[in-house]
Symmetry: C2
Subunit: 187 residues, 2 copies
């Protein structure tokens, strides 16, 4: 194997995101991640100081990913974007992983703060793009957060339980119901 620090660093991050998103923090071991990246366990502590540090880094990439995706998105796009992320059409599993990471707590204070901050920003954006005043009032915010929570629940259920037809529904099949669901942000 050719030696390239930043390359294996990225490989570690990718594998870690994969496992953290699907099995949660406590269940995935650093040895799983290292093996998945074809590398020794010690490199995790070396590159990310600790398992927690690695998790935080994963969350950090998720935050920037979502901020980029939210650029110039208007309300009617939300359901489509959600459907796309939720089904993650075999091309880019990172989309689903991003959603899932938002619900995987590590017990780490910093990580939880990052997650909370992002979710707060997302729900606020969703509320105003649905027509709420700026800053949105409490009820508008609540409705937006309910929809967000719904999306996270769907992501989790698709990833963890294989309940048919939800588990294998295609993007096209999810689109209409998701439109209806997202529309509930509007009073």
């Amino acid at each position: 194997m050719t030696r390239n620090a930043s390359q294996t660093r990225h490989r570690l991050l990718a594998v870690a995101r994969h496992h953290f998103a699907r099995q949660g923090y406590a269940t995935t071991t650093v040895r799983d991640i290292a093996d998945g990246a074809g590398v020794n366990v010690a490199l995790i502590s070396r590159y990310f100081t600790s398992k927690e540090g690695l998790f935080e880094e994963c969350l950090r990439t998720t935050v920037t990913d979502f901020k980029a995706a939210a650029q110039g998105m208007v309300f009617t796009d939300v359901a489509e974007a959600l459907a796309h992320r939720l089904t993650s059409p075999t091309g880019d599993p990172a989309l689903l992983e991003g959603l899932l990471l938002l619900i995987r707590s590590s017990g780490d204070e910093r990580a939880d703060t990052m997650r909370r901050t992002l979710l707060c920003a997302m729900s606020s954006r969703l509320a105003v793009s649905a027509g709420a005043a700026e800053p949105p009032d409490t009820e508008a915010l609540l409705r937006a957060q309910l929809v967000l929570a719904a999306a996270l629940g769907i992501a989790m259920m698709r990833a963890n339980l294989d309940l048919e037809p939800l588990a294998t529904a295609t993007e096209a099949e999810m689109l209409n119901p998701l439109h209806a669901l997202v529309a509930t942000v509007i009073p």
Copy 2:
């Protein structure tokens, strides 16, 4: 402490449900549970053969609980029932725990099967009570499962992230948005 087997058994079950529901399976230790019940760790293996056995028992109580709650419930009750469970008005935290346990996987095959079976039955019931044929077609089932997933996501978000106003919203405040959300089962 007075000695009463079935009483301490129930205490263990209650504490286990509490911890499993809030922190998940991997994160809660048998010593946490035993301490919470004011009892020695060895009793868990004694009464439930293993940590997995204890978890299965928790899930089993949840299944019977939900089956009892579903008796004679019609579609218009669903949102109210959900709001009630989700907010768990300080009286009976077991309601929220029931919802949360449905999303806490232990990696145990039997437990996952139980969960899947219950969710399947619930979504089917929800679909037909929303007006679908019996047995419901795939699309109706999908919509029902999406609503179910939404409910689980909300439960999880209220329990794990403290995102305001969702985290502390009252039953009354949740009722209207939940009505809208549940109504999306209907095409």
